[in-house]
């Protein structure tokens, strides 16, 4: 079993993530229309359809370059709050990192921790605000704990997916502090956040792809 990923594998994994998001457009729209602008699914789909179009044309040597390209495509094509936030999720973690040929579980933990910090600074959201942070932060903690517990890459990525899902479910219990959902107050209880759902889909597909291709 391989315990790290090279740039080519990362690229294939993110293409798989992109396909999953595009396939989830209606599901995400359905969630967002109840509580948000109803445009989250469309925005995510636009961004990741561009990833599907552009990423196969790129040749990468460093793993970090794959993150950067995915983030840049999202940032340049999505618009809305999501464009900045999901662009940040991929770009900010690799800034100032030396280029590496292979990414281990500890590298994933480091990269996503850095992007989580950048995201919180930009979006000013914390756990319990009913945002993508509610899924992202537990996923990052899941990665870090898996590193401490000596888990394999595949097992660690699966832990992150489980934690992201728990975080997504948690957004049903809280009221929103941002965006259109904020104006719904208590009426938002019982409804999940679309951004957190997208974060879960991303981590779930990362885990599923790794399980299928690295085990």
């Amino acid at each position: 079993m391989k315990n790290s990923m090279n740039a080519e594998q990362l690229k294939n994994m993110f293409l798989s993530v992109a396909q999953k998001i595009v396939d989830s457009e209606d599901f995400l729209t359905e969630i967002d229309i109840k509580i948000g602008d109803g445009d989250h699914g469309i925005g995510m789909s636009v961004g990741f359809r561009n990833v599907l179009k552009e990423l196969p044309k790129c040749q990468f040597t460093g793993a970090e370059d794959v993150f950067k390209m995915v983030g840049t495509i999202l940032l340049d094509t999505m618009g809305g709050a999501s464009g900045v936030l999901f662009g940040t999720m991929f770009i900010s973690g690799i800034i100032k990192r030396p280029v590496s040929e292979e990414m281990k579980l500890s590298d994933f933990a480091e990269v996503f921790r850095k992007s989580l910090n950048a995201l919180q600074q930009r979006g000013k959201a914390h756990i319990g605000d009913k945002t993508m942070i509610d899924a992202f932060e537990p996923a990052v903690i899941g990665l870090e704990e898996s590193v401490c517990n000596g888990l394999s890459l595949v097992d660690g990525l699966n832990v992150a997916a489980i934690k992201a899902k728990e975080g997504m479910e948690y957004t049903k219990q809280v009221v929103a502090k941002f965006g259109r959902a904020k104006s719904y107050g208590e009426k938002a209880i019982g409804l999940q956040d679309a951004g957190a759902t997208s974060v879960w889909i991303i981590f779930q597909e990362i885990a599923d792809w790794s399980t299928g291709n690295l085990s």
Partner: protein, 334 residues
């Protein structure tokens, strides 16, 4: 609702292409961008506006003489990507600095803040002003949290004039902020708008009921009532505004009555009649009052009233003429 489009994916692009082909002398397309700019370039501070399309003439129609220099358009109700705003920034005159003005919505704020950082990296000095005029969305103490709506028309007009007077970026920012702090809007929605792509209503609005303070994407408002007479509606709108702004006899104001597109000028004039009566009764000095359609959420019924409190400095810039095909205001005074 029957909509006149070709394909939902092309709506905003084709709207812009139509506008630019019909008014080719005044504007040009920003290369590789859903954005436009004035052809007439001068060495002064530039204003770049942007936001989601769907509230036309806001954004596209706010580029013009005495108004904004350039604009980036996002998809309907979605902020434009930072890249698009950055492309507009590079295309306009930027040597004297660039002021970004947009409404206070999270998507717009995040993208404009990011662009400001990117512009600085490219050596372009820039500032952001986020308009927060909707009094129904947060208390007066939390004015910075309020979302931005039709009042941006007056803020852009005042800031545009300040640029034309040749002021420095810092001065233009100061005046734009002063205009913003003194501008407040309250609205009533009488029937639901629809998404231009699908033609579907954006929210449920029962016949015979109206909602005050509703957001243009259908965000819940602060007061839901049975439909009353035009005079009653005007009274409610003015009561909230006067209360929020605490205007007195010594204050001088400009008033904009803005129709949302579905409400007719016949109705808007009836509302305007009562608004003017209320202002007169309260003995507030009206420097200017006008009816227009400058911020129209897709086919929505209703209107907003914006009041800008003026001092002698704001008046100077407010009085300057402004012209675009969709935003036309002659000079006031001499």
């Amino acid at each position: 609702m029957n909509k006149l489009i070709n394909h939902p994916d092309d709506m905003v692009k084709e709207m812009l292409e139509g506008y630019l082909s019909i008014y080719p002398n005044q504007f040009e397309r920003v290369p590789n961008t859903i954005g436009l700019m004035k052809k007439n370039k001068s060495e002064q501070v530039s204003i770049v506006v942007g936001g989601g399309a769907g509230n036309e003439p806001w954004i596209m129609g706010y580029v013009g003489e005495g108004l904004a220099t350039g604009a980036a358009l996002g998809n309907v109700y979605t902020a434009p990507p930072s890249r698009a705003i950055l492309n507009v920034t590079h295309a306009v005159t930027n040597s004297k600095g660039v002021l970004y003005i947009c409404t206070n919505h999270m998507g717009d704020v995040l993208n404009f803040e990011l662009v400001r950082e990117l512009a600085e990296l490219d050596g372009i000095e820039s500032r952001c002003v986020f308009v927060t005029d909707d009094i129904s969305t947060a208390s007066l103490e939390q004015k910075a949290e309020r979302r931005g709506v039709a009042g941006i028309a007056l803020v852009v007009k005042v800031a545009g004039a300040a640029c034309d007077f040749g002021l420095s970026l810092e001065e233009v920012v100061r005046i734009a902020n002063k205009a913003k702090e003194n501008t407040n809007t309250f609205s009533v929605t009488t029937s639901a708008g629809y998404m231009p792509g699908s033609g579907r209503a954006m929210f449920e609005m029962p016949e015979g009921e109206i909602e005050y303070g509703m957001g243009f994407n259908g965000e819940p408002g602060i007061l839901h009532t049975k439909l009353g007479s035009a005079d009653e509606i005007a009274e409610t709108l003015m009561k909230y505004l006067l209360n929020d702004m605490k205007l007195t006899k010594t204050d001088e104001i400009a008033v904009m009555i803005n129709g949302f597109g579905f409400t007719s000028l016949l109705e808007l004039c009836i509302i305007g009649r009562k608004v003017k009566q209320i202002i007169n009764t309260n003995k507030i000095q009206t420097h200017d009052i006008f009816i227009d359609q400058l911020f129209c959420p897709q086919g929505t019924g209703g209107l907003s009233i914006t009041i800008m409190k003026l001092d002698s400095e704001l008046k100077k810039y407010y009085d300057a003429p402004a012209y675009s095909p969709f935003f036309n205001k002659i000079a006031i005074g001499e």
